[in-house]
């Protein structure tokens, strides 16, 4: 699965960067979301994939029985997912306000506008 995921993550990165290179601020934000998803998946995959053994301690034991998935990258990625959602919510409202004030979603025209 790792080679396929490597391909998928590369595709996500390419699509995200391409969208961020566009002049529409909406595309920029969508690209940013794709990029954070891609980065999360990258960390998750790079740490090693394990099928079907979540890091849980069964009832009656003090530690998982045998091999289980690595909990650390999961904790990191979980934090990242939530933070990126906070960023997105803020960015979305911000571009909406900017559009109302300036009347364009073209970044090229936004940069000189002093409103």
């Amino acid at each position: 699965m790792e080679p396929l995921l490597a391909l998928v993550i590369g595709g996500l990165y390419a699509a995200a960067l391409f969208m961020m290179l566009r002049r529409s601020i909406v595309k920029l934000v969508i690209g940013l979301m794709l990029l954070s998803n891609a980065a999360n998946l990258l960390i998750f995959t790079a740490a090693g994939l394990t099928r079907g053994v979540p890091p849980l301690v069964p009832e009656g034991l003090t530690r998982p029985d045998g091999l289980s998935a690595d909990p650390l990258p999961q904790a990191l990625v979980l934090t990242a997912i939530v933070i990126s959602f906070g960023v997105l919510a803020f960015a979305v409202v911000l571009i909406h306000r900017a559009y109302e004030a300036v009347g364009t979603d073209d970044l090229r025209r936004l940069r000189d506008t002093d409103t």
């Binding site: 993550i9 595309k27 099928r51 069964p58 909990p71 934090t79 997912i81 939530v82 933070i83």
Partner: protein, 760 residues
């Protein structure tokens, strides 16, 4: 006790503005008590220092081997006494100079800070401590030159002084580090005993050159001399204190201090005598060309600093003794003359020697002290300056013809400068001045009286204290016991003849000053080569470069920023991967059909989002990719991630759709070529990430941190979901930070939504 004496100025300085507000008239006298007490304390150290160096250590940064350690020997005591004793009179003088002005408190603060820094510099034993104090003096000098900061000219002069001296300070730091490495210690007291090893070390030349750049910039040697005359923008007490008596001698101090460790090599002698001699001549010529009292004195100071460097470069016992005598004499008469110039400026409103005449009737005491100091500067017996000049000439005669000529010519020109500053304004018919001249107040006369009187006293009588101090200093510079007397009379010998010749030539030069000035004007054609031009061009070039690179890097175009990031990634990651790893990783992993389908869905959704014209379509594709990723999390043992991803993805899509509803649809605004180029760059970046990941999953790693969490989740935190335990227990503070970020984002969103409501 020693550290307390040295650092007390830092403790008292912040109180100065407060004290000045409470007692404007008395504050300077009260503050002067501190340097007087410090002077007294240093005098008690003299007997111990005369017997040999005393080192006092306090740990500062033990981990880095940096300690706050002080070295007390004759040389550091000589400087420390000059700094604290002259400091006391400067503080009293400032009280008269800025009487009734609110800025006085700030001046007192800065003067005390400077005094502390300078004392630390000359007493420091650890090289790093020395450097810290060295830079502190540069910074206080910057603040003092720009004291009257409302004038652009002053700010420029201050910045120039700072850049030259602090730039040299960086070279000095490098040199000191090299010396510390070569000598195996950062303690001066240790390094001074390792002269043989240091001089034979492979790093000797780089070390010497770097340290010399530091010393030469600080002590205004050619080609760095130009900052010192410009520093005359400072209030006169500052010029007298920093830019004549103490700070500019820090470079000389350093050279004298290091001469047992680095001196007496051909490189040392050649560099110091050449630069010192050239500086002495340059300073002497420029002093005679100038017409502003303070500039004449500044150039004359440059001449003296050059002579000191020359003498230390020669390095014989006579030369070093001459350097110490000359240093003490110079601090006395030049300090007095600067203070006199300040009184003249303060009481008449002018500093132009061509317009000031006949002040002896209105300012008799000032005239007396000025005359005494000028005679000492000119080297007329029985003043102390004569004894010092005799020693200098004796050294020069013993060294060679070039040095003798240099010394005699600069001595003659110095006589002219002495006449211009200390004699000319006071004799002749009184001429009108901007302010009606009046004798200066007592506080301002005290300093010149003591300094000029000191020059007379030491010249006339043998003062045992001064002899003991200079003898101890000479022993320290030489690294072996020595005796030094300030005896005036050396008998009739060639030295005396040379001295008389220089004096007569100088008097003639003074008599025919105007023609002399005009003929020296021919040298102005060399001005195109003046180092100051190079400084200005370098500064212009720096501004130009900053402007260009800002336009290039900070141009406000997001497209270019992102491209810069991508190319940086491609170059750094691509280069590392290509050079350090096998090009093709081994691919061996099983692939299940349903997993392949999910991967394909994510890929197709990503490509669709990037290429579609419909905003809604792009959001839908983003959602599809997000849910696909959630499924992957679930399949590979991360149910918590899957759950979170599903929730967040749902909210994201809802939010985007709500907002996009109000925004215009996508239109194609980029050209076809731009689209293709961007697509190529993005694909390249994506391919690099794929390559990186293929290599990264092969890497073996040791899961010690994870192992701790897995083993202790139940026993320590009583939780069965390990991911959950990490977030809310082991790393709970991180999660608190995350919650804060979300709360801030929510506040921001709320504020923006409310703001719109109000506008309507």
């Amino acid at each position: 006790m020693l550290a307390f004496a040295i650092l007390s100025a830092f403790a008292v300085a912040p109180l100065a503005p407060w004290l000045h507000r409470r007692a404007p008239a008395a504050s300077s006298w009260l503050l002067a008590l501190l340097p007087l007490m410090v002077t007294g304390y240093f005098l008690t150290l003299l007997p111990a220092a005369a017997d040999g160096a005393v080192v006092v250590r306090y740990p500062w940064v033990p981990g880095l081997g940096i300690e706050l350690s002080f070295l007390v020997d004759g040389l550091s005591l000589l400087f420390a006494l000059l700094i604290s004793a002259i400091g006391a009179f400067i503080l009293i003088y400032s009280g008269g100079y800025l009487a009734g002005q609110p800025a006085l408190g700030r001046l007192q603060l800065l003067l005390l800070l400077f005094m502390g820094s300078m004392l630390g510099l000359v007493m420091a034993d650890n090289l790093v401590t020395l450097f810290v104090f060295w830079e502190l003096t540069s910074i206080t000098s910057y603040l003092l030159i720009g004291f009257d900061h409302e004038k652009g000219e002053n700010r420029r002069a201050a910045l120039q002084g700072l850049l030259v001296t602090a730039g040299g300070g960086l070279a000095l730091l490098a040199g000191l580090v090299l010396m510390g490495m070569a000598g195996g210690s950062y303690s001066l007291s240790v390094l001074l005993g390792e002269g043989e090893a240091l001089r034979a070390h492979a790093l000797y030349l780089p070390m010497l050159l770097l340290i010399l750049v530091g010393a030469f910039t600080k002590s205004a040697q050619v080609p760095f001399h130009f900052w010192l005359p410009n520093a005359m923008a400072a209030p006169t007490p500052v010029s007298a204190y920093l830019h004549s008596a103490t700070m500019v001698k820090a470079g000389v101090y350093l050279l004298a201090r290091l001469s047992p460790a680095l001196g007496e090599t051909p490189e040392w002698t050649a560099l110091l005598t050449f630069v010192g001699g050239l500086t002495a001549l340059t300073g002497a010529v420029l002093a005679v060309r100038a017409t502003d009292l303070k500039r004449i004195l500044a150039y004359s100071t440059v001449m003296s600093l050059g002579t000191l460097v020359l003498l230390i470069g020669i390095g014989s016992e006579t030369a070093l003794a001459a350097a110490l005598l000359f240093l003490l004499a110079h601090s006395l008469y030049k300090g007095a003359l600067f203070l006199v110039a300040g009184i003249v400026d303060h009481q008449t409103g002018s500093r132009d020697v061509t317009g000031l005449r006949g002040l002896r009737w209105t300012m008799p005491l000032t005239a007396l002290f000025a005359g005494l100091a000028a005679l000492s500067l000119a080297g007329v017996p029985p003043l102390f300056g004569f004894a010092a000049k005799e020693m200098v000439l004796e050294t020069a005669l013993g060294t060679g013809l070039t040095v003798t000529l240099t010394v005699v010519i600069s001595a003659a020109l110095t006589v002219v400068a002495a006449g211009l500053v200390g004699v000319r304004p006071f004799i002749g018919e009184p001429s009108p001045t901007p302010k009606a001249p009046r004798e200066g107040p007592w506080g301002m006369l005290l300093g010149p009286a003591v300094l000029a009187g000191g020059g007379l006293l030491i010249g006339l009588l043998p003062v045992p204290l001064i002899d003991a101090l200079l003898g101890a200093a000479l022993s320290a510079v030489q690294g072996r016991p020595a005796v030094l007397t300030t005896a005036l009379w050396h008998g009739i010998n060639p030295t005396l003849a040379l001295s008389a010749a220089a004096l007569l030539a100088g008097i003639a030069g003074y008599r025919y000053w105007n023609p002399l000035r005009r003929s020296l004007g021919a040298l102005d054609r060399l001005a195109a080569l003046a180092p100051e031009r190079f400084y200005e061009r370098a500064m212009d070039g720096l501004v130009w470069l900053a402007d260009r690179q800002t336009r290039l890097l900070q141009n406000g175009d997001l497209h270019r920023y992102i491209l810069t990031v991508i190319f940086t990634l491609l170059v750094l990651v691509g280069y590392t991967l290509a050079t350090r790893h096998p090009l093709m990783p081994e691919i061996s992993a099983q692939l299940l059909f349903h997993e392949a389908v999910i991967g394909a869905v994510i890929l197709i959704a990503a490509v669709f989002a990037a290429t579609t014209r419909s905003a809604l379509g792009a959001v839908a594709a983003l959602g599809a990719a997000g849910f696909g990723i959630a499924l992957i999390y679930v399949l590979f043992s991360a149910p918590d991630l899957g759950m979170t991803q599903v929730l967040v993805e749902t909210l994201t899509v809802v939010l985007l759709v709500l907002v996009l509803y109000r925004l215009p649809g996508f239109t194609r605004i980029s050209s076809r070529a731009r689209l293709l180029a961007d697509a190529g760059v993005s694909a390249l970046a994506g391919a690099t990430i794929t390559w990186l990941l293929l290599l990264a999953v092969e890497v073996e790693w040791s899961p010690t941190i994870s192992g701790f969490f897995v083993d202790n989740s139940q026993s320590l935190a009583h939780g069965r979901n390990i991911v959950n335990v990490i977030l809310v227990d082991f790393r709970a503070l991180d999660t608190l930070g995350e919650i804060t970020v979300l709360a801030l984002a929510a506040l921001g969103v709320y504020a923006m939504v409310r703001l719109r409501g109000k506008e309507r």
